[in-house]
């Protein structure tokens, strides 16, 4: 890479670019992470005790999670819910991406993409708040459903996982739509026509031709959505109920309410490790390499 940079920009400039990149990666990414790991391996001590006999490396902070039933349940529930959010987002995004890539005229597609992007000019918190209003007990959604006579009394959308799911699907839909759209768009129309011509119906054409072709895009979308969902704080905090607590909220509590940074760091690191592990597993199952995702 350095050789390419030097060929293009000359020695000094290439050196500067690499140095800046190196500083950014080391100072802004690697060192804080290492510090978090270091934190997580030390007990939570009063300032006076730091450096004293009690200040030694320990795995006690990690053990906490496995000894605390509630935290452990929330931990796995977060993973499971993130999987659900990912699948739900894919289910919503795939038809949309197909429509944008192969059905819509260029004008319709441009309009549709614009409509998808405009809400993302607004801050995520505000967008989530708007869902809070829409889904509220006396909110517009309940009003409309009552007016249409579909329900007799308002539904408490925000009391279970429903609100969090809706909010997250909405918050991360673009991260799914665009990779899937890009992948489907590169499919030759004649492939679909050939499958139809050979007798395949809609479902089989998608299962055998479109989805295999779009797999790298689908994998990219799923990985991004899953990571964002598992690490999300705003959506569960705003749209969640006590029953739908997210693991990130517990990490937040350790840091800012419990004042126990060491414990929080251990939890955060566990979440990171589990997410990476889970993603590698999924990539292995679907035979997608890291290189495919970059495409």
């Amino acid at each position: 890479m350095f050789r390419q940079l030097r060929a293009r920009f000359g020695g000094p400039l290439a050196m500067a670019i690499v140095t800046l990149l190196g500083i950014w990666l080391i100072v802004m990414v690697t060192l804080p992470q290492l510090q978090m790991i270091e934190y997580s391996l030390r007990p939570n001590l009063l300032p006076a005790q730091i450096g004293g006999p009690d200040d030694r490396l320990t795995l006690a902070n990690y053990a906490t999670l496995f000894n605390n039933d509630i935290h452990r349940t929330i931990f796995f529930k977060t993973i499971w819910s993130s999987v659900l959010v990912t699948l739900l987002t894919l289910a919503v995004s795939y038809p949309l991406a197909w429509y944008l890539a192969k059905v819509a005229t260029p004008r319709q597609a441009a309009l549709c993409i614009l409509l998808l992007i405009i809400p993302f000019w607004i801050n995520e918190i505000l967008r989530t708040y708007s869902w809070f209003i829409i889904l509220a007990f006396r909110g517009p959604l309940n009003e409309v459903l009552m007016m249409l006579g579909l329900i007799d009394r308002p539904i408490r959308f925000l009391s279970g996982n429903g609100g969090v799911m809706v909010g997250m699907v909405y918050a991360y839909i673009l991260f799914m739509v665009f990779p899937v759209y890009n992948a489907i768009e590169s499919l030759d129309d004649n492939q679909v026509r050939a499958a139809r011509d050979l007798g395949a119906g809609t479902v089989r054409t998608h299962r055998r031709i479109v989805i295999p072709h779009a797999k790298p895009g689908i994998a990219t979308g799923c990985i991004m959505t899953f990571m964002l969902a598992a690490g999300s704080y705003a959506v569960p905090a705003l749209l969640g109920s006590p029953g739908s607590r997210w693991f990130t909220q517990i990490i937040y509590n350790w840091f800012f309410e419990g004042g126990n940074w060491n414990q929080g760091a251990a939890y955060a690191f566990l979440l990171l490790v589990l997410c990476i592990g889970f993603m590698s597993l999924i990539m292995k199952i679907f035979k997608v390499g890291l290189g495919d995702i970059g495409k």
């Binding site: 004649n190 492939q191 026509r193 050939a194 011509d197 050979l198 007798g199 395949a200 119906g201």
Partner: protein, 388 residues
């Protein structure tokens, strides 16, 4: 298995543009039928109507006497070979060929049997487990044929399938396609802008221009008895000479060629000519011979502008002295050898032809169009004409 195809007053419109004018046509079961025309003439549109990818604005398509209205692509007894082949790149050769059978719920052992048999038919035994991306152009071509044949179509639709191949391979595949068609007895409907392919393989050819079928005939008739000026100019090469009819005697026509003097030709097919009518005399380059200036019969005096040596023949580009029009002359082996090197630019020669070889058609003002749809001579195409 009746593979006959009938188009009954089919019209195709896209918005204001009429891609196919009202067309009726019957293709026999087991026939090798080609649609020949420049790009944009509507031949691919017709193919898509037969396959079901397009629904005609008017009219009806029948396959084996069954109306196809409302029958979707995946339920028609047709299979298509696409111009870019559209093989499934993520599948092996076996999986490609067996795709149609898999859709039809044929069990795995039977599927493999069929694909092995088809691979043998297209001379690709043993290539089944390969990925299609590992194959050469010609091999991909064969897999595409096998994949289409696997679903046992009554009609095979071929959309310029040879255009991506190089010349040698293309000529080889012509022979092979024809052989496969004879062996299987399936109706082939072949789309091409390459007249060599159409004339070489087909039982019958429909020449199309601007959404209209100009003539349907066997290749020899197309060449000898063109029905319209378009066909005369598009199929094979032809020199056009504007003239006026003096009189007709049976097939033979005497013409007043203006500055060119008196000319003669033969009425093409069933064309009707009346005395004094404007007509076009078509003389093929290969029918022109150098003659003595004193010789009797029609002769054309011209000055050579370029000499192209092609090996088996010599092509002379000349300009008529009397009218300034271009005249192309092709001299075969025996003539070009005797005069090898004797032709030079600027030389003046007289060319004669046998009136029985030159056809006369009423002047319909049709433009001369090359294979890409470009107007090369005559008046430009009118609105909604030869381009799409």
């Amino acid at each position: 298995m009746d593979g006959s195809v009938r188009l009954d007053e089919v019209v195709m419109r896209f918005g204001d543009f009429t891609a196919i004018e009202k067309t009726s046509l019957a293709i026999g079961s087991g026939e090798f039928f080609s649609f020949l025309g420049p790009s944009g003439c509507g031949k691919t549109t017709l193919l898509n109507i037969v396959s079901g990818f397009l629904v005609p604005s008017e009219g009806q398509v029948y396959i084996g006497d069954e109306p196809m209205a409302g029958v979707p692509v995946n339920r028609r007894p047709t299979a298509m070979i696409f111009q870019n082949l559209a093989l499934f790149p993520l599948m092996t050769v076996f999986e490609n060929i067996e795709f149609g059978l898999e859709v039809r719920g044929v069990d795995k052992r039977k599927r493999r049997e069929v694909s092995e048999r088809l691979l043998a038919l297209v001379a690709l035994e043993g290539s089944g487990p390969k990925m299609v991306t590992e194959l050469s152009g010609g091999q991909k071509q064969r897999v595409a044929i096998a994949r289409a044949l696997a679903v046992e179509p009554r009609v095979l639709l071929l959309d310029e399938p040879l255009s991506a191949l190089d010349l040698k391979l293309r000529q080889h595949m012509r022979t092979e396609l024809k052989a496969i068609q004879r062996k299987t007895g399936i109706t082939f409907i072949y789309i091409t802008h390459d007249q060599g392919e159409a004339l070489n393989m087909s039982d019958r050819v429909a020449v199309m221009s601007a959404g209209r079928i100009q003539q349907v005939a066997d290749p020899m008739t197309l060449y000898r008895q063109p029905a319209t000026g378009f066909v005369a100019a598009f199929v094979g090469e032809n020199n056009r000479l504007q003239a006026r009819v003096i009189d007709c005697e049976g097939e033979r026509v005497r013409l007043d060629g203006g500055a060119l003097g008196e000319l003669a030709g033969r009425v093409s097919g069933t064309a009707r000519l009346s005395n004094g009518e404007a007509a076009v005399l078509f003389v093929r380059p290969e029918h022109l011979r150098p003659v003595e200036p004193q010789a009797s019969g029609p002769k054309l005096e011209a000055e050579i502008e370029a000499v192209h040596f092609e090996g088996a023949w010599v092509m002379l580009e000349t300009r008529l002295i009397a009218s300034g029009e271009k005249l192309r002359v092709q001299l075969g082996h025996e003539l070009s050898r005797s005069q090898a090197g004797a032709f030079s630019v600027g030389q003046r020669l007289a060319f004669g032809f046998d009136p029985a070889d030159a056809v006369v058609l009423p002047d319909d003002g049709s433009p001369v169009v090359d294979e890409t749809g470009e107007v090369v001579e005559g008046r430009p195409a009118s609105a909604g004409g030869t381009h799409v």
